[in-house]
Symmetry: C2
Subunit: 326 residues, 2 copies
């Protein structure tokens, strides 16, 4: 089915507030989820609402989001066990505020969970002319390269650069699969792709339950595993546990800086656009029509979807969210 953007936001807000989330927080989450739909990332969109509500039901009411430590170049935020969709907006806005005075900001966040698409937050800063890097460690699901115990999260890494047009956003996970994909496979009764998970004895598995009891594999061999470890350590610095055993207290790290520290901002934006064009005009390999820069697909999907003003939603997901709103 199709929903207008306004209808979709309203739907998510009603379901989330029905389960104890404040209206302003529910609106931030809903806007993020609907943006994911506009960008064509169906799984990161409204289908997340039931999963978020399941987590809300399990938890005591959230506290306040508080800046607990601050300097001229940094802030540490206690997320009050609020969902990271909300806390990360506070964090990136705090980073931008610091950056306006000092040119660069480091912000750490702990006591939070479920972060959505990291690109959403870094893009927010890049639209205001900043370079923004953001990492999140998550519940331990991933074995390090060469090992079979789950000790790291799926640990995404994102960085955004302002350009003359839409920001250029690079947003990558450091595991071969995601928690969301494994959950979805389980719900649909489908097997995982081979090579993405091992069972608790370290044997390759395509069974979602066995993968959850065992571990997901890191992406990209020892290099991807190293990147995942870097994200883990930045999360630890932000105050997460060394190994995160449950869905809480993830460690979020934000770096935002003004490119004007090194080069006039308009000149940098022009060069980012130029580099994007270099990528797009590279001769394509056999089987590729046009070479895309990271995020090109999302940006184009959003332009079309936003012009139409509607998003697609699976009928069953719609019914489930309605049910949760009752």
């Amino acid at each position: 089915m199709k929903l207008t953007v306004t209808e979709a936001i309203g739907l998510a807000v009603r379901a989330l507030t029905r389960h104890g989330m404040s209206e302003p927080h529910a609106r931030l989450v809903a806007e993020h989820l609907v943006d994911a739909a506009l960008c064509g990332h169906e799984f990161s969109s409204l289908p997340r609402v039931p999963t978020i509500i399941e987590e809300l039901r399990r938890k005591p009411p959230a506290g306040d989001v508080r800046v607990v430590r601050e300097s001229a170049t940094s802030a540490l935020i206690d997320g009050g066990d609020n969902i990271a969709y909300v806390v990360s907006i506070a964090a990136i806005d705090k980073a931008i505020e610091i950056c306006k005075k000092s040119g660069v900001a480091i912000v750490g966040v702990n006591n939070t969970w479920f972060s959505g698409r990291l690109s959403y937050y870094v893009e927010r800063a890049a639209r205001q002319g900043y370079v923004a890097m953001h990492t999140t460690n998550t519940t331990a699901r991933v074995a390090p390269f060469g090992g079979i115990d789950r000790v790291m999260g799926t640990n995404p890494f994102a960085i955004a650069f302002p350009s003359e047009d839409d920001p250029l956003v690079i947003d990558i996970g450091t595991a071969t699969t995601t928690w969301g994909h494994v959950l979805l496979s389980k719900a649909k009764g489908e097997a995982l792709h081979p090579g993405v998970a091992i069972d608790s004895g370290g044997r390759p598995t395509v069974d979602p339950d066995a993968a959850v009891a065992g571990a997901f594999l890191p992406w990209g061999g020892h290099r991807g595993s190293g990147l995942s470890l870097a994200v883990q350590l930045l999360g630890i610095l932000a105050g997460s546990a060394v190994v995160v055993e449950d869905v809480r207290n993830w460690g979020l790290f934000f770096l935002v800086f003004d490119p004007g520290l090194l080069m006039p901002g308009d000149e940098f934006r022009s060069r980012v656009s130029e580099m994007r064009k270099v990528i797009n005009t590279t001769r394509p390999a056999p089987g590729t029509v046009k070479v895309r820069a990271p995020g090109d697909g999302s940006v184009q999907h959003r332009k079309h979807a936003a012009a139409a003003g509607v998003i697609q939603l699976d009928d069953r997901v719609y019914a489930r969210i309605l049910e949760l709103s009752a």
Copy 2:
């Protein structure tokens, strides 16, 4: 053959100064190269001397390394077309100096070339208690994912964290091969590994000459290619060309910050050590004896080699460097 550390440094210094490099600069380069040998990275060690000299012969005399732009949180350095082995030491030390006052520093460097092991610079900062991230874009050799034209460098990325023992250093390239490895294969008349390069028509090749005329492939599919692009854009911000066509004017980016901004430094170092231990005590996968954290191999190799006080050097490389010193 075996050389003591002092002999090896002397050998490199004599050859480099013979070709116009100042004695203090030659010493910095030599210390870096000998450290690579101690860490067991033979190719990054004294075999680089003839390649560096070849480049020195091609270039006009280098100018001064100058800070051309500075703020309370940043610096931009013109490398004066000096080798990056030298300029990066000035850059990381400048970053540390800024960091001592402001807690965080962004430093960009341009007008430089050949950077050595990035881990060398970030480790220097981490030994003083800082977290340091460093990227370098290099001469265009790598095609973006889905494309066949070389537009990005081999673009390494490194990050180091202080611990209670040696810093934990993650240092990864973002191409499937390195310029050095391709050069070495060519010199030895050996084929490249399959899957690392394409010729100028975009066809897979194992011929080093065809790979140099064509392109190396990015590591890790679209994700690794995205990371390479991020390094490219940080290099551009530091003042490199958008596409770097020759061996000069690479763009180096440094971020150094005090973990004390977010957490007491000794507490963070203790947690980094704890995370390293978690990795090391993870149950190994079949075929792995012990799970290593990134850099473990280098650190252990260096401990043994430094205790013995000697490095290994290929006889032919030794003869060639002696010849270049004459």
